[in-house]
């Protein structure tokens, strides 16, 4: 399965007003690409609050093995990237797309991301695309692949007018590759180790070149595996950018023992949020980085960060009556409205950017150090969530240049408001770990106990800005840190380590 996109938890999702600005995300792209991605939830940080995507699980087979994957996907208890509960035939997939597009008018994109490798399932994948390009002409199509069968698939992809392909490229070095891929299936044989990795890498690079030559947009996903490819990913970023990939998405390894993957069982650690962010920053000098990716399941449905798959199981779909023509017209109107709203926001932001700071605000000296803060929000761009209810935090950076979105960090929800909170302690530890590097956490409310633990960890809880817009609240806390002299102290995270 492709470790792609995400909707691991239900509800929530990041719906901040300015979860990263489109400006810093997409500004250095040519206009034709900007036009292509403006309504794509996975590519545009702004669009992902407004437009919905879905994946259909039609591609079960895979032609390689990754050490972060266990192909026992048919388990509905599991909710992690690549996992699906319902495998569909191409006909069922088309039915599902029609049903979802009729019921979720924000839907713009249909992706095939597994649960295996879509291009290792060419008949199922391409017949799905073929039917969709006829029956749902307004839905964009995209596909994710490990790249092994990519060169031979490019012609066919181009034919279906698929303009977005995601290739997972974890390395360009066969020696490193051998530590990630135990084997590939190639020319009717299982090929192991460095030899197999070398072939995979060659095919990925060739596929990438062929796609960009044809003007097909390519995003590259990489899984950051500490001690294996972490440093090397900067090189990968440089190379794929040079070859024309328009986005590089570095994602953290997910390796829990209970997933039964090689890395999970062998105790390979996942990157700390801080390490991931540092690497993303290191790569972004060179490349557009994608920071809002949620590593979706291969059957995710809805806005990024939410999963409405449960509403669209096959038995439910079969009972739905769909007037596709009417739904398509309705969608066109709604999409137009969203685009207009986005454009308006964009204009406003450009205006604000040109404005001078009002005189009653303190002017922040340009050499003031930046500070990371975490925000608990249930959406709407407002600080409005109880610390204990947050399943993810949005991390912002405040600096003399203003406030910018950095990333979202997932946590285990440590308090679910009943007495099954047996693992409360450890889950709270988990939250605190996820907030590493942040100096404050903004939320609507917070309990006494976590308050103390956060303070001990050097993170200042702040409930004073409940119901305020995130950027303003973050700026206010930053200014307070400056006026109270807190900013001059050592970064708290460092102090805690010392």
């Amino acid at each position: 399965m492709e470790l792609e996109v995400i909707g691991q938890e239900s509800g929530g999702g990041c719906s901040s007003s300015g979860c990263g600005s489109t400006d810093d995300q997409l500004s250095h792209l040519p206009q034709d690409i900007v036009d292509k991605v403006q309504n794509h939830p996975c590519y545009s940080e702004e669009a992902h609050h407004y437009f919905a995507r879905m994946h259909v699980a039609v591609a079960p087979a895979c032609n390689i093995q990754c050490h972060y994957c266990n192909r026992k996907y048919d388990c509905s208890n599991e909710s992690r990237p690549g996992v699906v509960s319902e495998l569909l035939t191409p006909e069922q997939a088309v039915m599902k797309v029609r049903a979802v597009a009729a019921n979720i008018p924000q839907m713009t994109v249909l992706g095939i991301a597994g649960p295996g490798d879509p291009l290792a399932n060419p008949e199922r994948t391409f017949s799905t695309f073929r039917m969709l390009s006829e029956q749902t002409p307004d839905i964009k199509l995209c596909v994710s692949t490990n790249g092994l069968a990519l060169p031979e698939s490019v012609e066919e992809l181009a034919k279906h007018n698929i303009d977005h392909v995601t290739i997972t490229i974890n390395t360009v070095d066969p020696e490193i590759g051998a530590k990630i891929y135990p084997w590939i299936y190639w020319n009717n044989r299982r090929i192991r180790g460095v030899k197999g990795a070398k072939i995979l890498i060659e095919q990925q690079q060739k596929g990438l070149e062929m796609l960009t030559e044809r003007g097909i947009l390519v995003k590259v996903n990489s899984v950051m595996i500490p001690g294996v490819n972490d440093d090397h990913l900067k090189e990968v970023s440089r190379i794929v950018k040079q070859k024309g990939a328009f986005l590089h998405n570095v994602m953290p390894l997910i390796a829990e023992a209970e997933h039964g993957t090689f890395y999970g069982v062998m105790g390979q650690r996942s990157p700390e949020p801080e390490e991931l962010q540092n690497l993303q920053d290191a790569c972004s000098g060179d490349m557009n980085m994608m920071r809002h990716c949620r590593q979706c399941r291969a059957d995710a449905v809805g806005l990024l960060g939410e999963d409405r798959g449960e509403e669209f199981t096959m038995d439910k779909i079969e009972e739905m009556e769909i007037d596709y023509e009417a739904a398509m017209q309705k969608r066109a109107v709604i999409h137009q409205g969203i685009i207009e709203e986005l454009n308006e926001k964009h204009q406003k932001r450009t205006q604000i950017a040109g404005m001078s700071i009002p005189s009653n605000e303190p002017i922040i000296p340009a050499d003031t150090r930046p500070v990371l803060m975490a925000v608990a929000t249930a959406g709407g761009g407002i600080v409005n969530q109880h610390f204990g209810h947050a399943t993810e935090f949005l991390v912002y950076e405040a600096s003399p240049n203003g406030v910018r979105f950095i990333s979202h960090r997932k946590v285990d929800q440590y308090c679910i408001g009943n007495d099954t909170c047996g693992e409360k302690e450890s889950a709270l530890d988990g939250s605190i770990r996820a907030l590493k590097g942040c100096e404050a956490v903004l939320c609507s409310k917070i309990g006494f106990e976590p308050w103390g633990m956060l303070e001990d960890a050097g993170i200042v809880p702040n409930g004073e800005h409940a119901m305020e817009p995130i950027e303003e609240a973050v700026m206010a806390v930053y200014e307070e840190m400056i006026t109270t002299g807190k900013i001059d102290e050592h970064p708290v995270a460092m102090k805690a380590q010392a």
Binding site: A61, K72, D74, N188, E258, V265, M266
Partner: protein, 92 residues
């Protein structure tokens, strides 16, 4: 001579697509090999194709009941470690 797919199969369909004899189909919960059709790929390929792509250890066995992909051979996870991890998880 024919190979057999045992109930460890996770129905990923990979073997179905690569079998030159169309000998594999979904039967019940998982894939099954039609012994009359299976040639063990003789005359077509050096290795049985199903066993060359199957990601699950111990899943495909030869006529003598021997696994083509014994424990540890595909995942690289030493069998004792996997057993240990399983026990730990199941004891929760």
């Amino acid at each position: 001579m024919a190979v057999e797919i045992v109930d460890l199969c996770v129905s990923c369909w990979a073997c179905v697509d690569v079998c030159p004899s169309e000998a594999i189909a979904k039967g019940g919960k998982h894939m099954q090999v039609n012994a009359k059709k299976c040639t063990e790929c003789e005359g077509d390929f050096a290795d049985p194709q199903c066993a060359s792509i199957c990601p699950i250890e111990n899943c495909i066995v030869d006529a003598g009941g021997l696994a083509f992909n014994p424990p540890g051979s595909l995942t690289g996870i030493p069998p004792e470690l996997l057993a240990e991890a399983m026990n730990e998880i199941q004891a929760r």
